[in-house]
Symmetry: C2
C-alpha cells in the first residue's frame, strides 16, 4: 500500500479502481467499456448520470449546463476567450501562478487582456487582494487553487461582470456557490476522475453574445446542444468519473468531504508549523487544502527526508521545480491515514536528527 | 463470447482488455495507471514506445512527427485549416460522406474551401474519380475510409500540393506510403486504441508557413515541441493504444493484418453477392474492408434477420440511419471466426426463409 501524494493525475478511491478494472473486462453483457459505442443506451445512461451527479453534488442552479469535454484546462484557456471575448473587448485576469499565466497568455491570442494583479514577484507565495476589476471587461478570470505554489482562493472576488474560474485542482473538494460563477472549468484528473476528461459548468445565457465564427468543437454551444456527445467522447474517462462521483455521493457529498479535507490539511500544516525542521512556503491565510508546499530549514536534509519518506511508502511529495522542497497533494481520495503516515515520517525524521546531533 | 461488429469505439484484442484491466489495478509498484503522474519515467516510456511503434508499424519516414492528441478527428477538422490555411488561401476537399462534409464545413470557419468533387447526390455510394485538384490550393483533404457508407479510397490522389488525410477508420489496417501524405490524423477508437485519443502524423516542414496566431493547444508545433506532453495527456488511452500497437506488432505488423483484413472482407462480400437475400450498397470498386454495408432485397426481413443474428451473439451490425440495413465493421481485432459466424447466420437465415416459403 502506497501513500500517493502525487499532484495529478492523482489517487482515486481504491473501489473506483476495482470497478473500473471490472468494466474493462466486462461492462455490459460481456463487452468491455473500451469496445462499446458511445451511442448505446448503456453509455448514454453513464453520461446522463454523471451530469446529474455533478449538478447534485455542486448544487448547480438551473440555467447552467454541465459538459464533458477533452483537451484539459489548457484547451479551455483558448475556448474561454474564443467564446466570450468579442472583438475590441478586454478580459481581466488575476495572475496567481503558472496556470493563471498560461490562461491569460492564450487569451492574448484572441483579444485584449488586462492583468488586475499578480504575485509573480513573490514567486506566487500569496494571493493578491485589493485589486480592482474594471466593470467594462468582458469577463474576469481566476484560478481558484494554484497546484504548484499551494495557494487557494476561497472567496469569489466581488464583481458584476461574468466570472470564469479554473477549478482544476479544487473542484469537488469544498462547497461552492455556483451561482456566483458564469463558467467553471476543470481538468478532471484531481477530484473528478482520470486524465483525458475536462468538465465545464456553463451559464447558458453568457453564450452567443459575440460575433466570432467559432469552430464547432471549440464552441460550448455545440456541446450543450449535443449533451456532450457532439463527437465521440472519452468514454472510459467519463465512466471512471461517474464511479468517482458515485463514491463522493456515498461519502456524504461535498460538504462531508470538505470536513475531511479541512482535517487533513490542518493536521499537516500543524506539523509543518510545529516541527522545527520544516516550514511552509505560503502566506498562512492563502494556504491551499489540496496542495501543501513546504521546505526544510536546512535544505541539505531534503534529499535524506525524501528517501526516508519513500521508505515508508510515501510517494509523490517531491516539490515542483519552481518551488522546491515538498508538495503533499491531498485530494479527496487520499485517506487521512496517509496524512498520518506523512506526519509520522516527519516526526520520526525529527527524532532521528535529534539523535544524530 | 460476443461477435462485436460495432463501428466504433470498437472491438480491441481480448488480451489488450486483460492487460488494461490489470494496469488499472496495478500498473507499477502498486499504483494504478489512473493515479500516476504523466511526468513519471514509467509513463514517459509508454509515450515514447507508442510513438516508436507507430513509426515502425507505418514505416514513417524521417521528418515526420507522431503526436498523441485529444478531441478526436472533429477537433482536427478545425486544427488542420488553423495551421495550414493562410489568409486569402483556399483549401481543396473531396466530399465522400458525412465526415468529409464536417471537415470542410469546419475549414470554412477559418478560410476558403473548394470542393473538388462530391458523391452526395448518390448518397455517397461511390468515391468520385477524375476530379481536378487546383495546384494553387493550400492543401488537399480527403477521408480515406467512409465509415457510414462503407467506401474506401486505396490510392492516394495525385497532386503536388500537401495532402491531408482523415484515416480515422482505416489507419493501421493496411500498408500505406506515409511519404505521400503531409498530415494524417485519426481518432484512435478503431484500430489504434480506445476513445479519447487522436493520433496525428505531421510532416514537420509544412508547419509555420502562415501568419495566423494559433492558441498553443491548437498548434501542432506546441505538441511537437513537447513530445505530446504540452499538457496532461490522456494517460490511460495512450497506454491502451500502446498495448494494442504491441499486439499488432506481435501479429506480424500492418502487412500481415492487411492480409487478414482482405480475407475477412472478401469472405463477407462473397456471401453478400452470393446470398439472394442480401445485396451490397456501394460501387464494387470502392468497397471498404473496414465497414461493409449491405441491405436485404426484401426490407421487411431486416428486423427478423437482425434479431436472428443477435441470437447468435452478433452485435453492432445495425446500419447507420443514413444508409439503413446492416453495417459489419471489421476492424483489426475482429477475429475471422466472428466473420464466419455472421456468414453462417446469413446462410442459416437463407435456409430458414427457403423452408418457410
Amino acid at each position: 500500500m502506497k501513500h500517493n501524494f502525487g499532484a495529478g493525475p492523482c489517487i482515486l478511491p481504491q473501489e473506483v479502481f476495482k470497478q473500473a478494472a471490472q468494466a474493462v473486462l466486462d461492462f455490459n453483457d460481456g463487452l468491455s467499456i473500451l469496445e462499446i459505442s458511445h451511442r448505446t443506451t448503456e453509455f448514454e445512461a453513464v453520461v446522463a448520470e454523471a451530469g446529474k451527479l455533478v449538478k447534485e453534488l455542486l448544487n448547480v442552479p438551473s440555467g447552467y449546463s454541465v459538459l464533458f469535454l477533452q483537451g484539459g484546462a489548457s484547451l479551455q484557456f483558448a475556448m474561454v476567450p474564443m467564446n466570450l471575448l468579442g472583438d475590441g473587448q478586454t478580459a481581466s485576469y488575476l495572475d496567481t501562478g503558472v496556470w493563471a499565466t498560461k490562461a491569460l497568455k492564450e487569451a492574448k491570442f484572441i483579444g485584449n487582456v488586462n492583468v488586475v494583479a499578480s504575485s509573480k514577484d513573490a514567486n506566487y507565495t500569496f494571493i493578491p487582494k485589493d485589486f480592482e476589476i474594471p466593470a467594462d471587461s468582458a469577463y474576469f478570470h481566476y484560478t481558484s487553487n494554484n497546484t504548484i505554489y499551494g495557494t487557494e482562493l476561497f472567496e469569489v472576488p466581488q464583481t458584476n461582470i461574468p466570472v470564469v474560474c479554473d477549478m482544476s485542482s479544487d473542484i469537488m473538494s469544498r462547497v461552492i456557490d455556483v451561482s456566483k460563477f458564469d463558467l467553471i472549468y476543470a481538468g478532471a484528473q484531481k477530484n473528478v476522475g482520470p486524465a483525458g476528461l475536462t468538465i465545464a459548468i456553463v451559464k447558458n445565457e453568457i453564450l452567443g453574445k459575440i460575433d466570432r465564427k467559432i469552430p464547432s468543437m471549440l464552441n460550448y454551444q455545440s456541446h450543450i446542444d449535443n449533451d456532450s456527445m457532439y463527437n465521440t467522447p472519452p468514454v472510459f474517462s467519463i465512466y471512471v468519473a461517474l464511479l468517482n462521483l458515485r463514491w463522493l455521493k456515498s461519502k456524504g457529498g461535498v460538504a462531508e468531504i470538505e470536513k475531511e479535507n479541512k482535517q487533513k490539511a490542518e493536521a499537516l500544516y500543524r506539523e509543518i508549523d510545529r516541527n522545527p525542521l520544516f516550514k511552509g512556503t505560503c502566506a498562512v491565510e492563502d494556504r491551499s487544502r489540496m496542495n501543501i508546499c513546504f521546505v526544510m530549514e536546512n535544505p541539505e536534509l531534503e534529499k535524506p527526508f525524501l528517501k526516508f519518506a519513500e521508505e515508508q511508502g510515501i510517494v509523490g511529495i517531491k516539490g515542483h521545480r519552481s518551488v522546491g522542497g515538498f508538495r503533499a497533494s491531498m485530494y479527496n481520495a487520499l485517506p487521512i491515514t496517509s496524512v498520518h503516515a506523512l506526519i509520522d515520517a516527519m516526526q520520526s525524521f525529527e527524532e532521528k536528527q535529534a539523535k544524530s546531533n
